[in-house]
Symmetry: C2
Subunit: 250 residues, 2 copies
């Protein structure tokens, strides 16, 4: 990325989106991401654009439900991939600290270099924020049943034993496999049609940095768990996208 | 990109999309693309997903109109950026050869290295295909009025003097500036709401490799120019996306 690309003009109508994009580009330059992470981010940008780059009401409700279920959990965990760490690593450390739970780094294209860069980044942020969150994922010793190869690797004292798991930007296969283990799977995904969105127990259709900030506000309120109709929440997001499409074309 | 990422399973339901993505990743590794190119590709993927990864009827009609206007033009040109070259460089060389017109490389984030990689790639393909298409863009000597910095650079015997210009995946500002020069601007863009899509004379809402292949079929048929209602074509694409959203959520 050359300098030209790094300049973001605060008067640009999509300034927030461009600043978020810059975080991904910077993390890529630090070796924290697979190339496909950039493409995945672009897909997310398109859906956020269709949502109007805002937290819609159904996403606000879903975030509250996620906060409630994380607070209620016996053994919650945050499963973070490269993009989630690049975009909201500090915020998720704060969430983990509020819940007194660990974070497990769980990346789709696992290489020792990328794992090392992500572990190093979270540990640096942990120190910087004066937190003491346990960071797992470096020494996987268990497997998620039904997933082949390194994608199924996890830690027994982390994802494997957790009863409730927050998965921002998760791959569809892994989301299904975690659900099949009987866990409560709390998804953050901008595409309301993705398999992760459809398979999650609760799905927040919203941009991950906005969700992480909202969770930080909501968790201390200890909201109550409700009977959650996830399909209804996804339909609300789809309806919002449909109306955005119509409204933008004026 | 590690090996794991490069394996594409032909039985995958989104095999074509993954193969297209691989072209972008490979071109990135060759230094042909800015980092933001990956993100832009991801945005396109999301819209193609919403179109059903197919050429819809209104896009087929728009492609025929583009072919007609390129054939009619006194001085047509294809303006290609990094993603267009990475995805369909060979196909666009064939189109330029059919029209007996030049290609001008015109990239948003211009560096000598990236320009060199793109020029080298097109020249290699020119030779490989046994074609003799003139490739411009290496020595800009004119400016597109209203654009600052390297983004406005072009060649006087190329984009500057052309009456009809094909711009796949073009930036909104540049599309507007070209239209303001009085040119016929033929856009290929997967987002029917983008400024490029809205400002183009004719907009094809379709994936660039599919459009390039369709143009190769249509240009020899020398179709006739019609009175083109671009808003109507964009609305058809938006309606298709809306119905895809509803149908996918069954």
């Amino acid at each position: 990325m050359n300098e030209d690309e790094n300049v973001v003009d605060p008067s640009h109508p999509r300034y927030q989106s461009l600043m978020i994009r810059k975080k991904i580009a910077d993390a890529g330059a630090k070796g924290m991401l697979a190339d496909s992470a950039m493409i995945a981010h672009g897909r997310g940008e398109a859906f956020d654009y269709l949502l109007g780059e805002q937290t819609i009401q159904s996403a606000q409700d879903a975030t509250r439900e996620v906060a409630a279920r994380l607070v209620r959990a016996r053994k919650p965990i945050l499963s973070l991939n490269g993009n989630a760490i690049a975009l909201a690593g500090a915020e998720f450390l704060t969430v983990a600290s509020q819940l007194n739970c660990p974070i497990e780094i769980n990346i789709f294209y696992r290489t020792p270099e990328r794992m090392g860069a992500l572990l190093g980044n979270l540990k640096m942020l942990n120190t910087k924020l004066g937190l003491d969150v346990e960071i797992l994922g470096g020494v996987p010793d268990a497997r998620i049943p039904g997933l082949e190869g390194p994608r199924g690797a996890c830690q027994s004292n982390g994802i494997f034993e957790a009863d409730t798991i927050l998965v921002p930007l998760e791959d569809g296969d892994r989301c299904e496999a975690l659900t099949a283990m009987g866990k409560e799977v709390l998804v953050i995904d901008l595409n309301p049609l993705s398999r992760s969105s459809r398979k999650g127990t609760v799905t927040v259709v919203d941009e991950v940095t906005r969700v992480a900030s909202n969770l930080i506000q909501m968790i201390p309120q200890k909201p109550s768990v409700t009977e959650w109709n996830n399909d209804q929440a996804l339909l609300a997001a789809l309806n919002h996208i449909s109306s955005t499409i119509t409204n933008k074309f004026q």
